[in-house]
């Protein structure tokens, strides 16, 4: 049920994130640039968008703005190895739920954890699990 959209121009990186998500049972699509990403986002529903900031053509910030016009609620995590030049404050204003560093600090587990954590409260499985395993107090709420 959960579906992630990876917008990333670097083919190798995108493929690795895709595979890491797959072995954690999360489905993902890859868009190789901003324009394609927006097109795909408009065509089907995604639960989370992983967005590279520095891309040829439309950059991450423009893509984010477009996405927010359509859907102010979808989780967007931006990641870049260009951190010192990303205007995080501005991005936060447009609306992002997470920021991850690539480059020398790239950490796939951290990226995955962040994604899974964002998806968690909404997964079909998660909801079922929650009903199964939550302490009783939650039902008394």
């Amino acid at each position: 049920m959960n579906k992630v959209l990876i917008i990333e121009d670097e083919v190798t990186t995108a493929a690795q994130v895709h595979e890491a998500l797959a072995i954690n049972s999360v489905e993902a699509d890859i868009a190789k640039d901003g324009a394609e990403g927006i097109k795909m986002f408009n065509e089907r529903e995604y639960d989370l968008v992983l967005l590279d900031l520095k891309m040829p053509g439309m950059d991450g910030e423009q893509v984010l703005t477009e996405i927010r016009k359509v859907d102010p609620f979808v989780d967007v995590i931006v990641y870049t190895n260009y951190s010192e030049f990303a205007d995080i404050k501005k991005l936060t204003n447009i609306g992002i739920q997470g920021y991850i560093n690539k480059g020398p600090k790239a950490d796939l587990s951290e990226l995955l954890e962040t994604i899974l954590e964002k998806l968690a409260p909404l997964t079909e499985e998660g909801v079922n699990k929650l009903i199964k395993h939550t302490p009783e107090e939650l039902f008394d709420e």
């Binding site: 190798t12 529903e45 950490d107």
Partner: protein
């Protein structure tokens, strides 16, 4: 564990089992049964809603979701589940259906069936028709009349300082939708400035358009142009104003200031220069205007004009000096401050060359660290992915082989990148006198076979006797890069072409080299980016490099020669670059 909990658990397991087996009907029946037993559990309603969505019964799905909403408390993540469902409905069903659903929700809010925390989130989600907070409703009314402006301002500033932006946005939306504006002119202007400050430029623009007569005064025009500048999109301004020559003449200085940016955006050099000239006439007696103008000259590399403006600023300063005894203490201080700024500006001029080189180096490192980051990310991710697979017990020998291959290919990528940077970073820097015409001819001769294969002819025209002092091999790199770019552009377009180089000496002891081809030229939208590192129009995977370093290297080498390169935008038959390199004293040798 109590009995109820075990039962809920059993229900949910049965429902998901049925659901995954594809028997949605039975899953729905089971879910309804569960709800009968546990009418207060919101999760079963959510699941029921999703089940109905699965069989496209939106009517029942929305009813189930509404019931879920009524059982929600204030947890924001739970609200998000609803929000996502609503967006889904918007996409899948008719406008009427969604409107009906909204009014049902609104009715539930009014009858108190929905928790206040959730009602608040709904009002922020849906906008003003859902607002129930009496304080905000009161404020809506107050924004209709300027006599309340002080109070409104206080409220808004307070919300901004506490980061309560959603409420501010809702109030701005109320102003946008307002019809009767004849008593709220100042309030609306205030909300334009708020929207602009919060970077809600789209909303600011709608307000600008909605206020009658706002564009009849300079402040309004200036605001509109400034918002458009920040948005990087002047279409609204172009639709509302005729920004022609006459407009420049009739505008005041502040509007002209914005017009400069507009003409720069539009690449209209003629009107840009006209605006600057017009501004110069207003600068004759005003120091701040002179300073603004000076900054513009620097921005557009109009150094002669900048120098003149700087002189003019000095004159204005000494004029103030002469009358200093007539001024009070305050003016005295002010003049001192301004003098300080002028001194600094003068320093800036002499530092400018140095700064430019620093900027070039910084840009180079920026690009370099970005590009290096890509293969590093890939190497790290691939190793971490493999570790993940080992942990999960799904790693294979084939995986290891692929991993090693990938790491090797990524290090090769780093290597070839370093090789491309060599022309800039090579420390050979063997300075010598060289003949400009001769070096350029030699580069063409070296590439002659490739040029002939592509059907490209070339001609080098002009002064054969100009010499420069510097690293000749780096100088060659400028032309290797330009010629290779032209070749690729021409062959992508047609099967023959011409490259022309014209060399001349300017009055200021500079050599001017213009390099042009008759290829497809550089598309208008990207002319600003072409000198940025790693900007490329070519496919990254293509064999011709396409890493976007060519023009960046050219630009850097010219910087090392204290020179510059500009794209000639007037040239329409292809691409044309104009380079200027100062000839250092003693470098000219007439043969």
């Amino acid at each position: 564990m109590n009995e109820e909990y075990i039962m809920q658990k059993e229900y949910s397991e049965t429902i998901s089992a049925l659901r995954y087996s594809g028997d949605i009907k039975s899953a729905i029946a089971k879910c309804i049964e569960a709800i009968e037993h546990f009418p207060d559990n919101n999760f079963f309603y959510k699941i029921l809603g999703d089940l109905y969505v699965q069989i496209d019964n939106f009517e029942k799905a929305s009813k189930a979701y509404l019931e879920q909403l009524k059982r929600l408390h204030t947890r924001p993540d739970q609200f998000k589940i609803f929000a996502r469902f609503y967006r889904y409905l918007e996409n899948k069903t008719s406008e009427d259906f969604v409107r009906e659903f909204r009014s049902t929700i609104a009715a539930s809010i009014r009858s108190g069936d929905i928790a206040p925390g959730i009602a608040k989130q709904l009002s922020l989600f849906f906008g003003k028709e859902f607002i129930t907070d009496p304080e905000i409703l009161e404020l809506f009314k107050k924004t209709d009349n300027d006599i309340n402006l002080r109070e409104v301002r206080k409220f808004i500033e307070n919300k901004i300082s506490t980061q309560d932006i959603n409420i501010v946005r809702t109030i701005i939306d109320y102003r946008i939708a307002s019809i009767d504006r004849h008593k709220s002119r100042q309030t609306d202007e205030y909300f334009i400035s708020v929207s602009e400050r919060l970077e809600m430029f789209d909303r600011a623009l709608v307000l600008v358009k909605n206020i009658n007569g706002f564009l009849h005064n300079p402040t309004g025009v200036r605001t509109l142009l400034r918002i458009c500048r920040k948005l990087n999109d002047y279409s609204v301004a172009e639709n509302s104003l005729v920004l022609n020559e006459k407009y420049i003449e009739d505008s005041d200085f502040n509007v002209q200031y914005e017009l400069v940016y507009y003409y720069e955006f539009n690449k209209n050099d003629i009107l840009l220069n006209r605006t600057l000239r017009k501004m110069r006439s207003s600068a004759s007696s005003s120091a701040p205007i002179a300073r603004t103008l000076y900054n513009f000259y620097l921005r557009f590399n109009m150094f002669d004009e900048a120098k003149e403006a700087s002189l003019h600023m000095k004159q204005l300063a000494s004029a103030s000096n002469r009358s200093i005894q007539h001024h009070g203490r305050f003016e005295e201080q002010q003049i001192e401050t301004e003098q300080g700024i002028w001194t600094k500006l003068q320093d800036l001029v002499s530092d400018q060359e140095h700064n430019r080189q620093m900027i070039a180096i910084r840009d180079l490192l920026k690009g370099f660290s970005h590009e290096l980051g890509q293969p590093i990310t890939n190497i790290r991710y691939s190793i971490q992915l493999h570790q993940m697979k080992i942990k999960k017990g799904v790693a294979s020998t084939e995986n290891i082989e692929n991993l090693l291959k990938l790491i090797l290919s990524q290090t090769e990528r780093i290597g070839s990148m370093l090789a491309r940077f060599r022309p800039i970073i090579s420390s050979r820097s063997k300075a010598e006198y060289f003949n400009v015409f001769g070096r350029i001819s030699a580069v063409f001769t070296d590439l002659n076979t490739r040029l002939e294969t592509c059907g490209i002819k070339y001609s080098i025209i002009g002064d054969k006797f100009i010499h420069l002092w510097g690293d000749a091999i780096q100088f060659d790199q400028v032309f290797y890069n330009l010629i290779l770019n032209s070749m690729q552009a021409i062959i992508s377009h047609k099967n023959c072409g011409t490259i022309t180089v014209i060399i001349s000496k300017t009055k200021q002891e500079q050599v001017k080299i213009s390099f042009s081809d008759d290829g497809p030229g550089i598309p208008n939208g990207i002319t600003k980016q072409i000198f940025e590192p790693f900007f490329s129009t070519k496919e990254p995977s293509s064999e011709d490099g396409g890493e976007g370093l060519g023009l960046f290297i050219v630009w850097n080498i010219l910087k090392m020669f204290n020179g510059s390169i500009r794209l000639n935008k007037e040239y329409a038959e292809g691409a044309k670059f104009d380079m200027i390199i100062p000839i250092k004293e003693g470098a000219t040798k007439n043969e």
